[in-house]
């Protein structure tokens, strides 16, 4: 271990920043869409969800990475599910204790972090073959990339759908008097899909490498 690389070497920094943009879990890797769309009606819910996923992903990445040499390959999916499920139960109990209102609104989606593809995807693709510290950074990075999309989608849905930001009203009353109306459609589920579709469009329009072949 004489040639230890520094904790924040260029490679490790890349693990953190790549998922924010060109390797984003939602728009590029297509992981974790299920929960990403359903809870983005309000900013608050999205931030809580993003933080929960970050905690679960970072910790389970580290745990699996520590165990990676002792897990028999045949039963690795069960082992991964047990680790994730345990973490999710912890997060769920904490949310119920300290943020009951949000936990009630997220309803089944906290539990569904278990089957969030980001978790299985990252554990399988990264933690099974890397040391704990890079796995930790990979977990934080991917959860941040996931959270980023969540927050962008929630920002637009809340702004256009309810005229609020983090529960505060920001569209002035004068606009409503002038005939402006909240777009009720933005609150409904289908618009989350369209919003993500537009984010993908913008991102791929800027970065030609990501464009899919016909």
């Amino acid at each position: 271990m004489s040639d230890r690389e520094p904790l924040f070497s260029a490679k490790n920094i890349k693990l953190l920043t790549e998922p924010l943009g060109e390797n984003n879990p939602i728009t590029v890797q297509v992981l974790g869409i299920c929960s990403a769309l359903a809870i983005t009606v309000k900013m608050e819910n999205s931030v809580v969800m993003a933080v929960s996923v970050m905690v679960v992903l970072a910790v389970s990445n580290v745990v699996i990475s520590l165990l990676r040499n002792s897990i028999p390959p045949r039963i690795r999916i069960i082992v991964q599910l047990v680790v994730i499920a345990t973490m999710v139960i912890v997060v769920d109990e904490i949310l119920k204790a300290y943020a009951y209102e949000v936990s009630r609104q997220l309803s089944v989606f906290v539990g569904l972090i278990i089957t969030n593809c980001i978790l299985m995807g990252r554990l399988e693709a990264f933690a099974m073959g890397n040391k704990p510290w890079p796995s930790f950074l990979d977990g934080i990075g991917n959860a941040a990339g996931y959270g980023l999309i969540l927050i962008i989608v929630a920002f637009f849905r809340e702004l256009l759908g309810s005229g609020t930001f983090w529960g505060m009203k920001i569209i002035p009353d004068a606009w409503y008097d002038a005939g402006y109306q909240n777009n009720g459609l933005m609150i409904l589920p289908p618009m989350a899909l369209v919003t993500v579709g537009i984010i993908i469009w913008v991102q791929r329009g800027r970065n030609k490498n990501l464009v899919e072949d016909k």
Partner: protein, 205 residues
Amino acid sequence: MENLVNIFVKSVFIDNMIFAYFLGMCSYLAVSKTVKTSTGLGIAVVFVLGFTVPVDYLLQNYVLKAGALSWLSPGLADVDLSFLSFIMFIAVIASMVQLVEMVIEKFSPALYSSLGIFLPLIAVNCAILGGSLFMQERDYANIAEATAFGLGSGVGWFLAIIGIAAIREKIRYSNVPAPLRGLGITFIITGLMGIAFMSFMGIKL
């Protein structure tokens, strides 16, 4: 009986897994390239949901719920194991998927080979766990209702994936803007289909 049909139709059209809750999106987006594979995956999901929801219903009501253990002995009446439900449900789902896989392999090898890799992957499909968690949250009155809900959700998912696969097969011939090609347009089409499905909202049977 009327009640069961009601729950079934409601979970197929109104509370559609894909369009109302976005459950199982990952495999929905990944596998919907052709109608043939989507049919296979859809059938497998109907199977597994139809099995796991009733089993998890029994588990919920006779083991996990507060006071559910009182049939064992009155002393256990105040035991509440509901915090274990995630881990129990996912264990049931993983093992049911294995079981369904073995049963299909034994009795219908043709179906088995057409489902292929999708069967084991269903264990991590959010629609399955979501089905069990919604069943828990909505507190169905008896096992028949839970089964109707499970099957209905599966059929709803099946319809959704067949629909999008058919559209994706056709859209290959259209001139979609390059950055929107593939994933982007699929998202937007799903959104539009969702809006169409919303017209079922509010229907009482």
